[in-house]
């Protein structure tokens, strides 16, 4: 049965209808302004990338190295977050621009776009926070929910979460291949190896560019350029990891049992997305650099709406949560990060006993589930 809350089936249907209406309104009003937004972000990103790489040719001068590395880091962050992630979601397909389309896009990440679209758009966005189904829940290596049985390896999870942050793109790329499913016999080996080959090919190409070709072009600045590119990749990885773990792992977000998927209606699905996601509050530049995943709740409700519209619909989603007594988890970046780390540290140790939200009793309306400030 669907995720238990205090809401009646009628409430859930009403909430679903209200959310559908918000979605329809945005779909009907997409136009030139939105199109100009993504074109500008793409132009800005390419400008930053060219500028950063050009500045780094003078990398023997420390200020040039710093400026180049900063610009390249920003470019890589924009490319993965506001552009790549969202284009691959099909958020901009409505423009029918063959250059900005989910079926033609490839991004500067170790994960080939095709495999990522499956593991992210389909698996993660359909089965969000469902234990045993959403592989993003802890990325198969972290214990982020008390329902995951403890084992001694998790004692090291604070350490390897740090390592995952620095190596995030490679971590995600390997994880997308689902090697553990091949070992368990759930996935054919030839398909797994094909994916692995595709990933290695891409990793090689991206690695060649950042660690061989550009450093070599810089001649005497070979080493500074290599280090600058490495720094930019690591900065981007840490940033992406930080934003993404804040989306689903803060303490107030819920996880779900597989049984809760049975008979799930559209409204139930919306409720699960709401309960399993958390926002990050902050200035517009944070939203831009996070690829608007700072509006993780809105993104999970409406994964294919253009990202520039999430800020606009957020107050309406929040008002609906208040009306229906549902939590709308949000907080500043430091606060959410601390919250995630508390969870990771706590769950490195055995326990606690999973606390299940009780099934609703018809005709009653218990307290709303835990509300984060």
């Amino acid at each position: 049965m669907p995720a238990a809350t205090h809401l009646s089936p009628q409430d859930i249907e009403d909430l679903g209808r209200e959310l559908d209406r918000i979605r329809e309104e945005v779909l009907a009003s997409r136009g030139e302004q939105d199109a100009r937004y993504i074109r500008r972000v793409i132009a800005l990103q390419r400008g930053l990338e060219i500028g950063g790489r050009a500045a780094m040719f003078a990398a023997v001068l420390p200020p040039a190295w710093l400026a180049g590395t900063a610009m390249l880091s920003l470019a890589k962050i924009l490319e993965n977050m506001e552009i790549g992630h969202n284009v691959l979601h099909g958020q901009w397909d409505w423009m029918r621009d063959p250059r900005i389309h989910s079926t033609t896009w490839e991004w500067d990440s170790a994960s080939p776009a095709d495999g990522w679209k499956y593991s992210h758009n389909y698996v993660h966005h359909t089965y969000t926070n469902v234990l045993g189904r959403d592989r993003d829940l802890g990325y198969s290596i972290l214990r982020v929910s008390p329902e995951q049985p403890w084992n001694p390896v998790y004692l090291a999870q604070p350490l390897y979460n740090l390592a995952l942050a620095a190596l995030f793109e490679w971590g995600i790329a390997i994880y997308d291949v689902e090697i553990e499913r091949a070992f368990r016999g759930e996935k054919p080996w030839d398909e797994t190896l094909d994916q692995l080959r595709g990933m290695l090919k891409k990793v090689l190409r991206q690695g060649l560019k950042d660690y061989v070709v550009f450093p070599a072009l810089a001649g005497p600045a070979f080493l500074p350029v290599l280090l600058g590119n490495l720094t930019a990749n690591v900065v981007r990885n840490i940033w992406a990891h930080t934003i993404i773990v804040c989306g689903h792992f803060p303490e107030a977000t819920r996880t779900f049992a597989e049984a809760e998927l049975d008979g799930e209606s559209r409204g139930d699905w919306y409720v699960r997305q709401l309960l399993g996601s958390a926002n990050i509050s902050g200035p517009p530049v944070l939203h831009l650099l996070s690829g608007n995943l700072s509006h993780q709740i809105e993104h999970h409700l409406f994964p294919d709406l253009p990202s520039n519209r999430y800020a606009q619909v957020a107050p309406r989603v929040r008002a609906l949560c208040e009306r229906f007594g549902l939590p709308y988890t949000t907080g500043s970046l430091p606060r959410q990060t601390v919250s995630v780390w508390k969870r990771i540290l706590r769950l490195a140790l055995p326990g606690p006993t999973p606390a299940r939200v009780p099934a609703p009793v018809p005709g009653t309306s218990p307290e709303p589930v835990a509300r984060a400030a």
Binding site: M95, R96, D97, P98, R205, L208, K209
Partner: protein
Amino acid sequence: MLGIRPLLATAAGALTSPLTPDDYRATLNPLWSRNRPSGRVKAVVPETADAATVLISPGLGWRRGIAGQHVDTAFRIDGVWHSRTFSLSSPPDRADGLISITVKANPDGLVSRHIVQALRPGDIVRLGQPAGTFVLPAELPERLLFVTAGSGITPVMAMLRHLAAGPRMPDVVLAHSAPDPSKVIFGAELRRLAARFPSLRLHEQHTRPAGDQRSTRLTMAALATLCPDLPARMAWVCGPAALVEQAESYWRERGISERLLTERFHPNLRAGNGAGGRVRFVRSGRETTTSADTPLLMAGERSGMLMPSGCRMGICHRCLVPLADGRVRDLRTGVEHGTAGDLIQTCVSAAVGDIEIDL
């Protein structure tokens, strides 16, 4: 042997991966793209009350074609690209390098109205390469006949301009139909050409002169009278489907079909019966619902798919995609068909019930 160009492209690709150098060129200026050519609108010149010629400066990747060919274009309207195919009205050898299309605004046509009424100099137009066999042959015949109606004059205008710029105007008869003299697209230029070249004979058929409600269309019998040596001429016929079909049967009955080239506008689409259905695009995982008389091309485009497209009237076969499951109806004939694996023309096919497309 490897040329220097592919080598350079590979080297540049190593710098821009996962993008291509072309992506960066196009970001700086869409006209610099070689892979996806574009053009910039230089001027929009009114031809009649509801038709206009768009002069376009083509970018680097564009290759000029042969007089009479058409070109795929795409226009951005409120953030969305819309593709349409138009005949080029410019000859391929224009001195200033510009190309032109001439478009009549259809009251129900989003794209044609945009072109005539809203397009401005400086706007970017996406361009395909010139294509089509409705052209002048490399070796010009002695005598030519052009039969056109309405905006069917556009490809013929490109040919006439090409001939007018050449060394010698061959023996040409042009029979053009339009409602009245003011609605003749390129009217002034056609009359000027006829005055300048004695070997060019222009017949204007005004089908509704001075608001007359009785239509006086050009019949094949009338055509044969005004052009007695018709069977001896190489003929080009371009216009609405009815005109083209009449011409095709007339030429066929006389056994001279090999001397006829045709191009038609507007297919006669029939309303489908039944309820349409759900269309699933298997590879992209996208789904949309459609009615029984909506071409699959339109249904796909509305859902944001990048559909291959061309003439949009079932002629050029550029829109072919494999059917994965279900059946479709040909909107021209009403015939239901399709088994998995068939290549279907999405521009003239509608879904019969739920279908799947391998795209």
